[in-house]
């Protein structure tokens, strides 16, 4: 059973400036100890008192201003940061798509990058070899796949990264904003594939500023503000209070029909 549980979790970053990040300072700090606040390492509280419980089928959008803690929360959910206080438990195979430049070597070919990314996501070589053709077809990169990655545009990198994660059946898919760099036609394709993936697999958490994306992929949402969960509810409610307007207002009728939402926000929210 795929699940994510976070109890009262906080993520505090110690900020070691050049001086405090040395043994000398630590040794002198203990002897002297009179400098006061300078002796201590300053801490940035990126997240505090986070309580989240996600189960199979949850498709959560993350909204909030820059620096509200969306990316840090995604990393907490991925298990990259273990909470400094509180605790967390993640059950399931996690596939994060955060920064598209990382885990990708610009000097090696697209094929080799597919292989390495797949291996990092817990696949075996053989399993990846089986999927390479499928990914090549989905990304439409064709002969570019044998070129070094540094020749790729941003959009092409997004295609590659999405191609890999959507091919491997992750149980928990975590997407950070930045996949907006692809063109409309590919978006259509990616949406179908992501939708399909979300239906098949467990949990999607998606941080984005784009209403369209959120509406397409998510059913519930979390509003992050100053490192805390400000609101957790249905997507329509949360985005309406975050942006001050109904995200469904400007959508075309056919889109609304596809995602099964009424045009006007009813009293009791979206669903």
């Amino acid at each position: 059973m795929v699940s994510i549980d976070v109890w009262n979790a906080s993520v505090d970053f110690p900020i070691f400036d050049a001086k405090s990040r040395s043994l000398k300072k630590l040794a002198l700090g203990k002897v002297g100890g009179k400098i006061g606040s300078e002796g201590r390492v300053p801490i940035i509280e990126a997240l505090h008192d986070i309580n989240i419980s996600l189960r199979h089928g949850d498709r959560v959008g993350l909204v909030g201003h820059n620096g509200a803690g969306k990316s840090t929360l995604l990393r907490l959910l991925a298990g990259i940061y273990e909470p400094t206080r509180g605790s967390s438990r993640i059950v399931g195979k996690v596939a994060p798509v955060f920064d598209l430049g990382v885990g990708m070597d610009p000097e090696i070919s697209g094929y080799e990058n597919i292989m390495i990314r797949g291996l990092f996501l817990g696949m075996s070589r053989k399993e990846m070899e089986k999927r390479v053709d499928d990914i090549a077809e989905f990304t439409e990169l064709g002969d570019y796949l044998s070129m070094p990655l540094r020749t790729y545009s941003t959009g092409m990198r997004v295609r590659l990264a999405l191609g890999v994660v959507t091919s491997i059946d992750p149980e928990i898919l975590l997407l950070d904003e930045g996949i907006g760099a692809v063109d409309a036609a590919f978006l259509e394709k990616a949406r179908d594939r992501l939708n399909d993936l979300v239906k098949r697999s467990g949990i999607l958490v998606f941080a984005s500023h784009s209403d369209d994306f959120l509406v397409e992929l998510c059913s519930t949402a979390i509003w992050m503000d100053e490192g805390q969960v400000k609101m957790h509810g249905s997507l329509r409610e949360v985005v309406t209070s975050y942006k001050g307007r109904d995200p469904y207002e400007f959508l075309s009728t056919e889109t609304l029909e596809r995602i099964g939402q009424p045009r006007v926000l009813s009293r009791n929210g979206g669903e």
Binding site: S22, G86, L119, H232, E271
Partner: protein
């Protein structure tokens, strides 16, 4: 459905469980299961370094060959040693030293250099260590070619009994005992993993450690019997004294790296080997792994915060 529902949500664990030995061992075990990943990455690193060069990784071998040849020629004359046995001695010692050097210097930066991967992809931190150690093993394998070339050239001299200048010990010459180098090197690799784990974690927190190690490692090279033989120490202490050669021999004996080099080098050259080298290396293995496991237990989860 209430999205914030607490249906089937288990009661919160009483304490955070990130600082336990169980998690430290799980990290090691998971990393071992991902060996396809780090093996692939280790290879990739080597191919990467020599991409677009014509003879590629052969450069590793060539550079080792010239260095060993030059050092062997020079120091055999300086110490008045027989070239036929001293050149293989320097070659084997230098190849092993290069492995140790690579592990220690790259081990300090093993997490710092992989900051991007650590912050963006969840994986056991040991994966980065194993990738680095595997890369060094591959370098070692490339360098071993030089050893085999030297072995072929000096095969007659090495298969007979010989003594090193200044030393009384008669070495039996190469035989099947050369296979002892395999467990010897395996033990060195096992040690390489804890060294990289421990030094990697400490260096990530205290960024002064890598420069310190980088500046002292060259000194250690000259203090370790690689381009000189311990027999020389006997000679300068008078040489005639039975048993220990006085405090000067301690220069070698107190240097842990001497024992690490010796358990691999002696079998490769058909030299007699004292069991105390194995005892020293074995003790380092146990103590080192214990320290590394404690560091893993307490600071494994902090590495992603520190990088």
């Amino acid at each position: 459905m209430q999205p914030t529902s607490t249906v089937d949500r288990p009661a919160a664990p009483l304490a955070p469980n990130s600082r336990t030995f169980a998690r430290a061992f799980a990290d090691l075990r998971d990393a071992w299961h991902q060996r396809e990943l780090w093996a692939h990455l280790g290879w990739q690193d080597i191919k990467q370094r020599y991409r677009r060069s014509v003879i590629g990784p052969l450069w590793i071998t060539i550079s080792m060959g010239t260095t060993a040849l030059a050092l062997g020629l020079l120091y055999s004359q300086l110490f008045n040693q027989e070239l036929a046995t001293f050149l293989p001695y320097v070659t084997a010692g230098f190849i092993i030293w290069n492995f140790i050097l690579g592990v220690v210097t790259e081990g300090t930066g093993v997490f710092i250099d992989n900051e991007g991967l650590i912050k963006h992809l969840p994986s056991p931190i040991t994966v980065h260590v194993l990738r680095m150690v595997w890369r060094q093993v591959l370098f070692f394998a490339h360098n071993l070619v030089v050893y085999f070339i030297v072995l072929i050239i000096f095969f007659p001299a090495l298969t007979e009994q010989y003594t090193m200048e200044g030393d009384k010990v008669v070495h039996p010459g190469l035989s099947w005992s050369v296979l002892m180098a395999v467990p010897g090197f395996a033990l060195v690799v096992v040690n390489a993993v804890w060294v990289a784990l421990l030094f990697g974690i400490i260096s990530t927190r205290f960024r002064d450690i890598p420069p310190v190690i980088h500046s002292f490692i060259n000194l250690v090279f000259f203090m370790t019997p690689i381009v000189w033989h311990v027999g020389v120490l006997n000679k300068v202490t008078g040489g005639e004294g039975e048993g220990d050669g006085g405090w000067r021999v301690l220069i070698a004996e107190l240097n842990p790296l001497y024992h690490f080099v010796e358990i691999v080098r002696a079998p490769l050259l058909g030299q007699t080997q004292d069991w105390h080298h194995w005892v020293v290396v074995g003790s380092f293995t146990v103590v080192g792994w214990a320290l590394a496991l404690v560091a893993m237990r307490n600071y494994r989860a902090r590495v992603s915060y520190w990088v």
